[in-house]
């Protein structure tokens, strides 16, 4: 809220008075502007400050912090969320060491923030020693990750892979494991294996990849599947370490992040395919892609959410039920992939024709040209646009309130109903939620600007 003045430009040549004259009082009109807006903003700031500190009732926020953070996620299983956050913090520390730049800033802020929270004298409901310990752990793991990565001089490629792997592991841990029968596990193993084989087989055939490459990928894939099956069935499915926590119990900031992250990740491959389809010379593919993209972009996200909740069940076999979060994700992914496709199309158009001709001249097939030459360059060019899309998706996830999910905003609304005494504190709750979103989106926008700078300089 505060209008923190930016760092003043060096005033050696003009002095403070000179600066004031040049920037605030250059003409009579300007001076009038300065005085009026200055007085108004000071009055407003004072009023806001007084309200925030003296008259606002923050009890709905302080008494429900757990709800705002994770919603109905069972309290006794919260260690899983904590573990994921601490894990992410450690990776953050590692990334700080490896890349520096804006990540250094973030890692430091996060570490300092967690430390302050852990040691803060405030004691909102449920903020006991154990919770403090988690925050402390978060701060510590950032530092630890940094120190380790510094000592080991890690390859950035591996850190990247760790993030991707960590994303899946984190999701798996938060979701948990269900008891599965041997038959189910085997079915899953063979089913996924068949799909993998078909995909690799077709890709290898169409792309004319050497047999050795395809067989190696296949071996890796089957191996990973086997490991996953073993772990799911004998490792975690049969124990109580991390029992399944249905998505209906996810909420708060956790849900907001899951929706945005999974939405953007899932919409990426679909967006690539749609973008390629739209540029394709095959009329049917092109037609499908254009129809889909324009249809989805032409309607509001709420109608898509509404569709998956109310309309889609009518099209599915009777009694099919899949959970609400999954459906919201479906709608968000549909929505996001249409925009992703347009972003990527922009990137594809930016790849110089010479690159394609060069690839052809080297004897690469159409598929290989696309996969190894065009796409990498196109995607690199659209990273800032994708980050921008992620930011707006992050904000758009609030719309799931309208279909009854309890994300940060949903929790805020639910508070009023079960607790009529908080009716009068709506401004406080909505401002708190606004502040939460602001912090995250502002940080992301800042990072994206930095990233743009980094990518802009020294492009290959």
């Amino acid at each position: 809220m505060a209008t923190t003045p930016e760092v003043l430009p060096p005033s050696t040549s003009v002095g403070i008075v000179g600066w004031l004259r040049a920037n605030l009082f250059s003409t009579a009109l300007n001076a009038a502007f300065t005085v009026v807006t200055g007085v108004l903003s000071v009055l407003m700031l004072v009023a806001i400050f007084r309200w925030v500190v003296f008259s606002a009732d923050w009890s709905p926020v302080t008494e429900s912090l757990k709800l705002f953070l994770v919603g109905q996620y069972p309290t006794e299983e919260l260690w899983r969320v904590g573990a994921v956050v601490v894990g992410a913090a450690a990776l953050m520390g590692v990334s700080w060491a490896v890349w520096g730049g804006v990540l250094r800033t973030f890692a430091r802020i996060m570490a300092a923030g967690s430390l302050i929270v852990a040691l803060s004298p405030l004691e909102p409901a449920g903020f006991d020693l154990a919770v403090r310990a988690w925050y402390l752990g978060g701060a510590a793991s950032i530092v630890l990750g940094f120190a380790l990565a510094r000592a080991a001089a890690l390859d950035p490629k591996w850190v990247m892979r760790a993030w991707v792997l960590g994303f899946f592991l984190g999701m798996a841990l938060i979701w948990g494991f269900e008891e599965t029968s041997l038959g189910e596990s085997l079915r899953g193993f063979f089913g996924a294996g068949a799909a993998l084989t078909v995909v690799l087989g077709v890709a290898g055939w169409v792309g004319r990849f050497p047999a050795g490459v395809v067989l190696r990928w296949l071996a890796w894939g089957w191996g990973a599947l086997f490991l996953v099956t073993i772990v799911m069935f004998w490792g975690l499915g049969q124990t109580d370490i991390a029992p399944r926590v249905g998505t209906s119990r996810w909420g708060g900031l956790l849900l907001t992040f899951v929706l945005a992250l999974v939405g953007i990740a899932a919409s990426f491959p679909i967006g690539v395919l749609l973008a390629l389809g739209r540029r394709s010379r095959l009329p049917v593919l092109k037609g499908f892609s254009i129809t889909f993209i324009e249809l989805v972009r032409g309607v509001p996200l709420v109608t898509l959410l509404f569709m998956t909740v109310i309309i889609v069940p009518l099209f599915l076999p009777r009694g099919t039920s899949f959970d609400l979060v999954l459906r919201a994700l479906f709608a968000i992914t549909l929505f996001s992939s249409a925009y992703m496709a347009e972003n990527i199309r922009g990137g594809l158009a930016a790849v110089p024709l010479g690159q394609i001709e060069g690839a052809k001249a080297l004897g690469l097939g159409g598929f290989q040209t696309m996969l190894f030459i065009v796409l990498p360059q196109a995607l690199r060019a659209v990273i800032p646009a994708i980050v921008g899309q992620f930011i707006s998706l992050f904000k758009d996830t609030t719309l799931v309130v309208i279909v009854g999910l309890l994300d940060v905003l949903g929790i805020g609304k639910a508070l009023f109903l079960g607790n009529v005494r908080w009716f009068g504190a709506q401004a406080e709750v909505y401002l708190f939620i606004a502040a939460v979103f602001w912090v995250f989106t502002f940080a992301m926008a800042y990072a994206s600007r930095k990233l743009e700078d980094t990518l802009g300089v020294g492009t290959r």
Partner: protein, 352 residues
């Protein structure tokens, strides 16, 4: 090598087909169970999906730990306890009033307990209505200093109401019938309705009287608001199950009857274990200690009633938990919702 290059993808696809066949083979026994009916689907899934709400004190809301609680939710928990012996084997899907119809029509939830009024159209279109668990009627709440004494005085007022409800239609009907001018503000969720009413956006708010009482009790000064004497509609609130599965319909009905019969016979959460050896044959039959009242046909254990009552208590206990003298949410005299023995309307067929 040249040879290999041409053949290997075909080989891979052959392998894939083999794998897919293997995966499909294992599939068959899984399907057999699923086609058995909703009870089997529920058992397979391991929990009961309830369409409910999270935003109405007394009926469906979140406690401070984020657990779903309330009168309606407990009815759902009773069904879960009957099937799994575990009242927590539920998934609550919070829906708004206007989503109730489509949600139960599509059959994606097992039971809808979200204070839903039984009407003939809904019965034919939405699903099967089980047993009336709460008798209600639509009323009006106004500010005490507004000078209104009767609903017929309400000419030219602004009313706040929830969209997609019978309430909304009754309101329009009532004002048109009586030739009264009306301005409405129609909200998607109940929270907003009462927030708007309390802030003075509307002169009057209308809903089921139980709901009005609930909300009024939560206001900063309940004395500033009053509920007008007229009841302009009948609102029998009833859990609904999807159309097309008689066994499931009967099962949910029977669980509701157990709750009511348990109160009638004085079986409570506290004494249910000792009641198994009661002298009363009807009680022993209900608790599965003697004879049968259809448990097997419903696909339930003989002593499921013990699990139900242990989990949520009898009808009166559920009511009192939220709306009794020391209830969590507010106090609402039972009146029509007394047992028939005490002059109310709550009545269930015998368990025989």
């Amino acid at each position: 090598m040249r040879h290999m290059k041409l053949r290997y993808p075909l080989l891979l696809i052959l392998v894939a087909i083999l794998m897919a066949a293997l995966a499909a083979c294992g599939d068959d026994d899984g399907d057999a169970a699923a086609s058995g009916g909703r009870l089997d689907t529920v058992k397979d899934r391991g929990n009961l999906i309830i369409a409910g709400r999270t935003d109405l004190a007394g009926f469906g809301f979140l406690d401070s730990s984020g657990k779903n609680v309330g009168f309606d939710i407990d009815l759902g928990r009773a069904v879960a306890a009957a099937i799994f012996g575990d009242p927590n084997a539920i998934e609550v899907r919070p829906i708004s009033a206007s989503e109730r119809g489509p949600t139960i029509q599509s059959g994606e939830v097992d039971v809808l307990t979200r204070n839903v009024t039984w009407t003939s159209t809904r019965d034919s279109q939405w699903g099967n209505y089980t047993t009336i668990m709460f008798y209600d009627g639509q009323g009006f709440m106004v500010r005490a200093d507004s000078g209104f004494e009767s609903a017929l005085d309400l000419d030219g007022v602004t009313a706040c109401v929830t969209s997609g409800t019978t309430t909304e239609l009754n309101l329009a009907d009532f004002f048109r019938q009586n030739g009264l001018a009306l301005e409405t503000v129609v909200f998607e969720d109940t929270a907003s309705v009462y927030g708007a009413y309390e802030s003075g956006r509307c002169d009057v708010t209308t809903s089921d009287k139980s709901q009005l009482a609930a909300i009024r009790s939560g206001f900063a000064s309940p004395g500033d608001h009053k509920i007008l004497p007229e009841t302009i509609s009948k609102e029998p609130l009833t859990p609904v199950v999807p159309h097309g599965d008689d066994q499931w319909f009967d099962l949910v009905k029977t669980v509701m009857w157990v709750l009511i019969n348990a109160e009638e016979m004085g079986v409570t959460q506290a004494n249910v274990d000792s009641m198994v050896t009661s002298d009363n044959i009807a009680i022993r039959r209900m608790l599965g200690a003697e004879g049968e009242f259809g448990q097997a046909d419903l696909g339930l254990d003989a002593d499921f009633a013990v699990d139900v009552i242990k989990a949520v208590g009898n009808y009166g206990e559920i009511y009192d938990r939220y709306m009794g003298p020391n209830g969590i949410s507010f106090e609402l005299p039972r009146q029509s919702n007394e047992l028939w023995l005490n002059g109310g309307l709550i009545y269930a067929p015998p368990l025989k």
